[in-house]
Amino acid sequence: MGETIILEVARYSPERDAEPTLQTYEVPFRKEWVILDALNHVKDQMDGSLTYRWSCRMGICGSCGMMVNGEPRLSCATFLSSYAGNGNKVRVEPLRYFPVVRDLVTEVSDFLGKLKTVKPWLIPQEEPPLTQEFLQTPEQLEDYKQFAMCINCTLCYSACPVVGLDPKFVGPAAIALAQRYNKDSRDRGAEERTAVLAHPDGIWGCTFVGECTRVCPKHVDPAGAIQQYKVKAALEWVKKLVMPWGDKDRQTKTEDVHNAAA
């Protein structure tokens, strides 16, 4: 293990470059350093023009996603030491499948637009007064909790081959977020969200490669959410054929909420 490690960083400035190039920096190798510490060392001591986003440095704000040796990773949660054996070299590039603004900074407004389309807010039937909470058992919480853990870091979009082929695909994080609300016992908005999810750019775009789940730093399972939703959507379609008079399940859920608010 050397005293230093080589960082190969993708550099791109729209004011100057036609396309990205790799720039090499030799930085100290310290076992407690993550990729982000190495980038900060470059920016502070060597080249103030190196451009990237970061904030919390504890894996919760979701700002610092990058491709590290070709894998989407949070740079604050990826240790340099993991790459020490690999010719003492590590390559850092912007997250794949996003337009690059500059260096390691990607354009994420399209992603935010997609989040909004799935109506990621609670759509209750009836809100109790402010002196009273909705009842929700720990088991009911457990039903949706893992889908609520998404930090919007967009690593899953960079891992998803469908996003790469079809930029209109609403994508793993947005679908998981829709499921987060659909599966919340307080919510009655599943039908409103169906319009987006059942669209060809919604869940049906997914070919179930499962890369989104594999790269998620917060152990959310977007692939699982998509599969659950596909099954549910298929069932709904069948139900509409055989039970054109209405959805009994839905009525039961409505009774539950009245009990809960009582």
């Binding site: 502070d44 500059r102 407004s109 909790k145």
Partner: protein, 605 residues
């Protein structure tokens, strides 16, 4: 120059900012509301809050007890009228967030679960496992998406408040993506930019916590209040400064010195028991625990590491199941960043700068003395936190005072005329300043990081857990020199596209102002109270200092400190007592009602 205009403009999109935006939108759906934030709102530092949010909700608890814990925890520097409003509205705000979908942890019967927290005599801290801030922020952000009147300016950096004729009328901001410098005018502005932990070298705070709002307000003529009160959280991971939540102790964790001894028993915090006891030992207030650490260090009873002395947080006896259910993020952070497992290993921890009690001086509605300017959340000082904030009071503070400021500012907008074009001249001047001072400057040789590191060292050395006149005086000199050298700063980056180096330079400028305000206020307060401990004035002095510091910036750029009375309603200043023996007034003494005439209104220097 490009200009856009709104009725109300918020700077910052964290817990307080988003709550304020929704509150304003609900006052009148026709108001045009802008949220200007240097990061996407869900990146805001609220996201890092772990342990929970206090609000009285259980039948064994009362608003008076929450108020008393807060006021005694704050060493009687809180404004008690504000505290009373706060404890009353906190449960309603937390319930409102529940109605918006926040995944609060629950009792088996489906009701909200609460946990113990430091300095609190009852269990009243709502939590969403140990990612409470994360869940609150994402719930708020997602909820704002359904409000059409809210326009977001994501990744816009505010450099200046526009003030004309004693009224704030908007901001100048840089769109990071394009480098465009433009004016955004508004009838009123609410600052919700959070704290300033990055003024110190070792902090739990995110990289974005640079005291932007404090410096913006102070430069615009609004006073800062109680800036000497900086909270050290007793349990940060060495090297990174990542926070290990107080909930780890509330759920039963012990603090051990190098001999495996629960040393807090030596510091007037009660006697050790196997299970956590409220307001005792590990559940004492943060200021006292951090001070106890320094005393242990002086007795050579801490452990040495390459990143400073540490003590141990012991969670092992709690078992894997409790740790996984109640403290999953603590385990994740220890495994990922410290390579240890709290289920089987001791966690090394040391005190770490965590929170700024002081901030932009506001009343209970978030209004500053400057017309049209409001503030809420950590950037503000109402004050409900006094000389030491209790854990789990800051998240509900964001909600209660975010909502109050949003409502008050919206009403201000309905009653006032649109800003006039005169302010645009100021905006053009500001653009010229940015270009001349940074982007088009030739020469200069100072690196941002060098000045920043020296500033952090100066502030930590002088205004750390213990302070004294000599070091504080030295620091004022050092900071003055650094201000001067800052004028000689050189940027490698002259690009218009996402110029993070320009942003860092402007943040450093803000931090230098904030650093000076902390040191000046610490120097002027010749007593020890809460988180402000002067070795040369070790006692609390209510005769002279039961008063808020107010820091003003003079026209020549120097600062001056004045004092304003503390509002005492029902809890006269008393002794802070922790441990089993404490007497805890369950009912406030009405006869004690007094206006804080004790407090002198005078200048310090």
């Amino acid at each position: 120059m490009d200009t856009s205009t709104h009725d109300l403009l918020l700077v910052g999109g964290g817990g307080a900012g988003l709550r304020a935006a929704i509150a304003a939108a609900e006052v009148d759906s026709k108001l045009s509301i802008a949220v200007v934030s240097k990061v996407y709102p869900m990146r805001s530092h609220t996201v890092s809050a772990e342990g929970g949010a206090a609000g009285v909700v259980k039948p064994d608890d009362s608003l008076d007890e929450h108020a008393y814990d807060t006021i005694s925890g704050g060493d009687w520097l809180c404004d008690q009228d504000a505290v009373e409003a706060f404890v009353k509205e906190a449960p309603l705000e937390l319930t409102q967030l529940e109605h918006w979908g926040c995944p609060w942890s629950r009792e088996p019967d489906g009701h909200i679960a609460v946990r113990a927290f430091g300095g609190m005599k009852k269990k009243r801290t709502w939590f969403a496992a140990d990612k409470t801030g994360f869940h609150m922020l994402h719930t708020l952000f997602q909820t704002t998406l359904k409000y059409d009147p809210i326009t977001r300016y994501d990744e816009w950096f505010v450099t200046k408040l526009l003030v004309d004729d004693g009224r704030v009328m908007g901001v100048v901001a840089i769109e990071l993506m394009s480098g465009k410098i433009q004016a955004i005018t508004a009838k009123a502005v609410i600052l919700c930019t959070g704290g300033c932990g990055r003024v110190f070298p070792f902090t739990t705070n995110a990289n974005i916590k640079n005291g932007d709002g404090m410096a913006l307000a102070c430069r615009a003529g609004a006073p800062l209040k109680d800036m000497e009160f900086v909270q050290y959280h007793p349990t940060g991971l060495p090297f990174t400064g990542i926070l290990i939540t107080e909930a780890a102790r509330a759920e039963g964790g012990y603090l051990l010195n190098k001999d495996g001894y629960r040393y807090l028993q030596d510091y007037n915090l009660g006697t050790p028991e196997p299970k956590p006891v409220l307001r005792c030992m590990e559940l004492g207030p943060r200021d006292r625990l951090s001070q106890a650490f320094v005393k242990e260090e002086q007795k050579a009873r801490t452990l040495e590491t390459p990143y400073g002395s540490v003590v141990h947080l012991d969670l092992r006896h709690m078992g894997e199941k409790v740790i996984n259910t109640k403290l999953p993020f603590v385990r994740e952070l220890c495994l990922k960043y410290q390579n240890i497992d709290p289920v089987t290993d001791l966690v090394p921890v040391r005190p770490v700068v965590h929170y700024m009690m002081g901030g932009v001086s506001t009343d209970s509605n978030g209004a500053t003395p400057l017309a049209g300017l409001y503030a809420a959340g950590e950037v503000a000082c109402v004050s409900i936190n006094g000389a030491n904030r209790l854990g789990s009071n800051s998240l509900p503070e964001c909600l209660v005072f975010g909502a109050r400021a949003g409502k008050a500012a919206a009403e201000f907008c309905l009653e006032h005329e649109a800003p006039h074009d005169r302010v645009l001249t100021q905006a053009r001047d500001e653009r010229q300043r940015l270009e001349k001072q940074f982007l088009h400057k030739s020469g200069g040789k100072e690196r941002i990081a060098t000045i920043r590191t020296e500033m952090q060292k100066a502030v930590e050395t002088s205004a750390g857990i213990y302070r004294e006149e000599k070091l504080l005086t030295e620091a004022t000199g050092t900071l003055g020199e650094l201000q001067h050298r800052f004028g000689n700063v050189m940027l490698d980056d002259r690009s218009h596209t996402f110029n993070t180096e320009l942003q860092s330079a402007l943040e450093l400028g803000f931090m230098l102002d904030v650093a000076e305000s902390i040191v000046q206020c610490a120097l002027a307060r010749r007593e020890s109270r809460g988180a402000h401990q002067r070795t040369d004035y070790p006692a609390r002095d209510d005769r002279s200092f039961l008063a808020h510091s107010l820091l003003f910036r003079n026209p020549d750029g120097t600062m001056r400190v004045e004092y304003a009375p503390v509002k005492v309603t029902r809890w006269p200043p008393g002794e802070r007592v922790y441990g089993q023996a404490q007497e805890h007034p369950t009912e406030a003494k009405d006869e004690a009602k007094q206006d804080a005439t004790l407090a002198p209104s005078r200048r310090a220097s």
